[in-house]
Symmetry: C2
């Protein structure tokens, strides 16, 4: 510690919102170089190296071979798959001195596809799974939470190549199993949830989430075992309703009712239901105007119709409209569409199917708006709503879209019970890509009959730097970090207390003997630092075992303290090496 390049901080950094960011900076593991871009100090680099080693071992165990691609890549392959454009502003783009276009790769599907195309030509060459541990770049709109959403970060990305769907399924399962082993070995709790494929494309994907209140992803689970990212939850479609008894739609005066709450109040007061039951928000059809920013730079206004008791979840909307970015429409959007009477929008002026006009704003319906359902909705005139408007009879929309929020208690799509919601940090994502990239880039091999067949692919990512942050989120307390032994920067933190030369010499001896036994030791030999500061630093740095050499030395004992969860113990100087080595072996499960 007297020569280690580290300085601990007592104060939280001003920009740190989450524990991992705060503690990794305070403990001298990382330093910010630019927004979302971090420098690794010696202790941080050790932890990162240990995580990488576990990932590398499990990839090898799963039969994946390691390669390494450049981060600086030419535009052409990403043009062929349209991702040069689809990534929009998330891609760092640049030109070289000859004005040729380059990018800093956010992920490498294209390059792996081209490499396999370059080397392989026969079904006999397959299957193959390749991986790399490599620096990735994404120009996030809002880099945040330290390492959790960065702009330069380390990923393990693997890609599988197979001739048929069964092969892809097996490769996918092998990676999925390897991920379970990786996160288990790292000491990182995880849940596997169904996910959307987003800009990646492909047929099936799952995410590995580390449960955490500060996670950016919300996921659902049912008692019956269904799990999914909320973005991937498919709303069960209710059966159609018999609306034969519903009277014709009729427009009613509803002055000053631009919101669902005011509309429901006015409806109950001025137009009560015939059966006397009160109208609720669920009886209204809310029409929400969204603005889509397409990757080609165009902006499109769409209207989404959903039950009035549901809000639009912009992340679910974005998953549905990918690769477009989605936001609530603004004044400029409304100005371009005078037919949209804010607060009173309804079918009739929107929807290409309903209006028969190709230039009409698209009108998309929540899956709950099935034929025969009956609604109160806007009449496209200020202060007026239409009642008894029946889906399928009076309007049809241009299709359905998943934009409505998922709520606790909603039914699981597979009938396995009501859903609970929780938050998590995405630490892994695995995709069955299918043939999208192979088709775009012409990756074919000869099959057993000498016929050219397009290869089918999977893509498998672990956020290595993010996993480190997730570990810090999961393993800390108010005093600092508390690493699981497998990823800790050292196994034992030896603290010499007191200014006595004999204490320092005894501590040095303990540290040396432990090192000789293969135990990784961080030795706090700083001569002029008080015991209080040393103890605080040891708690902040988070090494799993602390050995205090000091006051007890007169009685021939030292103290062995676990960083968390356990009692401290007095051990004789003669026994300390055996005792600590045994404890370390136990912590490492070896």
């Amino acid at each position: 510690m007297s020569s280690l390049f580290v300085r601990t901080l007592r104060e939280d950094p001003a920009d740190a919102e989450v524990a991992s960011h705060r503690l990794l900076v305070r403990a001298g593991y990382i330093r910010r170089a630019a927004p979302g871009i971090y420098t690794w100090l010696p202790l941080g680099l050790r932890v990162l190296g240990k995580i990488e080693a576990v990932v590398r071992e499990e990839m090898a165990a799963a039969g994946a071979q390691e390669v390494h691609f450049p981060a600086l890549l030419p535009r052409e392959p990403y043009e062929a798959t349209h991702r040069w454009t689809e990534y929009g502003p998330n891609l760092f783009r640049l030109q070289d001195r000859k004005k040729a276009d380059y990018l800093l790769a956010p992920t490498h599907e294209e390059m792996f596809t081209l490499l396999v195309k370059d080397l392989y030509s026969s079904y006999k060459d397959l299957p193959v799974t390749l991986f790399q541990i490599q620096t990735k770049y994404r120009d996030e709109a809002r880099p945040r939470a330290g390492l959790i959403r960065g702009r330069e970060f380390v990923m393990k990305d693997a890609y599988s190549f197979d001739v048929d769907d069964a092969g892809l399924e097996a490769a996918y399962q092998a990676q999925r199993d390897a991920y379970e082993r990786v996160f288990t070995r790292l000491g990182l709790e995880y849940v596997i949830v169904a996910a959307t494929s987003g800009a990646m494309g492909g047929s099936r994907s799952e995410e590995f989430l580390s449960p955490s209140a500060i996670g950016e992803d919300t996921y659902v689970r049912s008692a019956g075992g269904y799990t999914a990212n909320v973005e991937a939850v498919v709303t069960p479609v209710p059966a159609a309703v018999d609306a034969s008894g519903v009277p014709a739609a009729h427009v009613e005066d509803t002055p000053d009712t631009p919101t669902i709450a005011t509309l429901v109040a006015a409806a109950n007061e001025r137009h009560p239901r015939a059966d006397g039951v009160a109208w609720t928000a669920a009886d209204t059809l809310k029409n929400v105007v969204l603005a889509l920013s397409h990757p080609d730079g165009t902006r499109e206004v769409v209207v989404v119709g959903l039950p009035g008791d549901r809000e639009v979840d912009l992340k679910r909307a974005e998953a549905s409209f990918a690769p477009a970015e989605v936001e609530a429409a603004g004044d400029a959007d409304f100005a371009k569409h005078p037919e949209l009477v804010k607060g009173y929008i309804g079918p009739g002026v929107v929807g290409r199917t309903d209006t028969g006009r190709e230039d009409a704003v698209r009108y998309l319906l929540d899956p709950r708006v099935v034929d025969g359902t009956c609604w109160i909705t806007g009449a496209n005139v200020s202060g007026k709503h239409v009642f008894d408007l029946v889906a399928g009879r009076d309007f049809v929309g241009d299709g359905t879209v998943e934009t409505a929020e998922v709520r606790a208690g909603d039914p699981a799509p597979d009938g396995s019970g009501p859903l609970e919601l929780a938050r998590g940090i995405e630490i892994g994502h695995i995709f069955q890509l299918g043939r999208k990239y192979a088709e775009a880039l012409g990756l074919k091999v000869l099959d057993q009959n000498g016929k050219q067949v397009t290869v089918t692919m999977g893509s498998y990512g672990i956020g290595v730097t993010r996993a480190l942050a997730a570990l810090a989120e999961a393993h800390h307390d108010d005093s600092g970090l508390a690493w699981p032994a497998h990823v800790a920067p050292a196994h034992v933190h030896v603290v010499a207390t007191g200014k006595d030369a004999a204490v320092l010499a005894a501590a040095d001896d303990v540290a040396t003997r432990l090192s000789e036994r293969g135990v990784e030791v961080l030795f706090d030999d700083r001569p002029k630092v008080s015991p209080g500061v040393k103890f605080a630093d040891a708690e902040l740095l988070g090494v799993p075992l602390v050995v205090v050499v000091g006051r007890g030395l007169a009685d021939g004992v030292v103290e062995v303290r676990p960083r968390t969860g356990g009692e401290s113990e007095q051990v004789t100087v003669a026994d300390v090496v055996d005792t600590v080595a045994a404890r370390v072996a136990q912590l490492l499960g070896s």
Copy 2:
């Protein structure tokens, strides 16, 4: 080999000029992704990893601590040291989505300086030496020779921080010693030569060159032990000459003599020397027009005067005029300067000192043009030269500059004898930077007297990917690569020949038993590949020992062949593991 992700090529890649490039591609170690940008396949990555491990161990042994900086960096620190501009078109620059300027770092002096400033504040914290092994970017005008001059490459860069010059000297020596150990362990012959500091700045620097005919650097050495990059050779300045007996300068007709050869011929024919000795090129003063491209985008024409028997060496000129880029002046440059009469340029119209005009073209002299030397040179009129023009009497120029070529036989600057020339690949470069970066970025610490002092720094680079290429240049033959054991992708290449299942089983057994003994084995188990192809592949891949299991098996023997330098040997199946393990241990020097 049957499942390894590798394909060997029989044909040389069309763009490969040098052996390392040709063989690394043919043997399936690397693939080109873009000009000067390469992908690492499994075998290449193994070799790269072994080189990195040696570098890392020797850095640790030298007391350097490992950190890791981003490659994507903000403009500001590089602005403070002027390198944002000075790097000119060699820097990859880009903007993020908020239009903030970033660069892909070519080297990290600024960031290390700021990091130490961030963490340290007292002389007690020093000395410290930090390093990283990291991906670097330079937008080379002419990427060439595969990994030797790339645009994305791996470097080890270390930086030392000291309070005084003695500390810097010690840190520099520690790194220099570590470099010697690194290259020795890698099996890479090297010479250490004095070097110029170029865009890096600082007072002293040395390069580690791997001698190679295809190297881009030319260096000199004398019998007395002087070594230097030609760019760093300082011309010994001759003593001034007594020119009191030289008549006044006189202009003579020399029609059609735009070159030194035609001038010398005409001078001997029409204006012979009074003493009857023939004029030679060395009696003429050649005035060469160069165009400097300054990093700020401006272009400057300068005239360099040097003895007519010497050519301008553009690399020496570039070292002298750094950070400007240098080329021969073109027609457009001459068009802007009508006073420069091509082929007949001389003092009088150039030189701010000589003409007394601030807007005159700068006129810089070779150090050999000392006071009293007497020259034939251009008279600034077509077809006329001036004779008996004496330096110091008739012209003085605006200073001296090193641009003249160094030739074999030139005297060493330290008087240690005549120079020989050779070529080498730059694999390391160490600099005593001094206080340039610390001053620009405000890195000060409190000294023992409580006074703020500016820290002094060193910077130490190893081209890791380039060292791999230099190893391939030094260790190959016509059949392929021939790696030293420490960096080879495996220690032993076991080749099973013949289609007999028993052969494959025996080979598999040998490979397995060798692996169990800790020997790294590459096993060619491909069932349908002919022995000839397998042998050719083994020679191409370059693993140091080859074990052939095949025909001899009937007699209970296998063949053990060194890849180079040694006889092949028949060894019994019973002995083969012991024999090979012993050979490997010998090759590894362990």
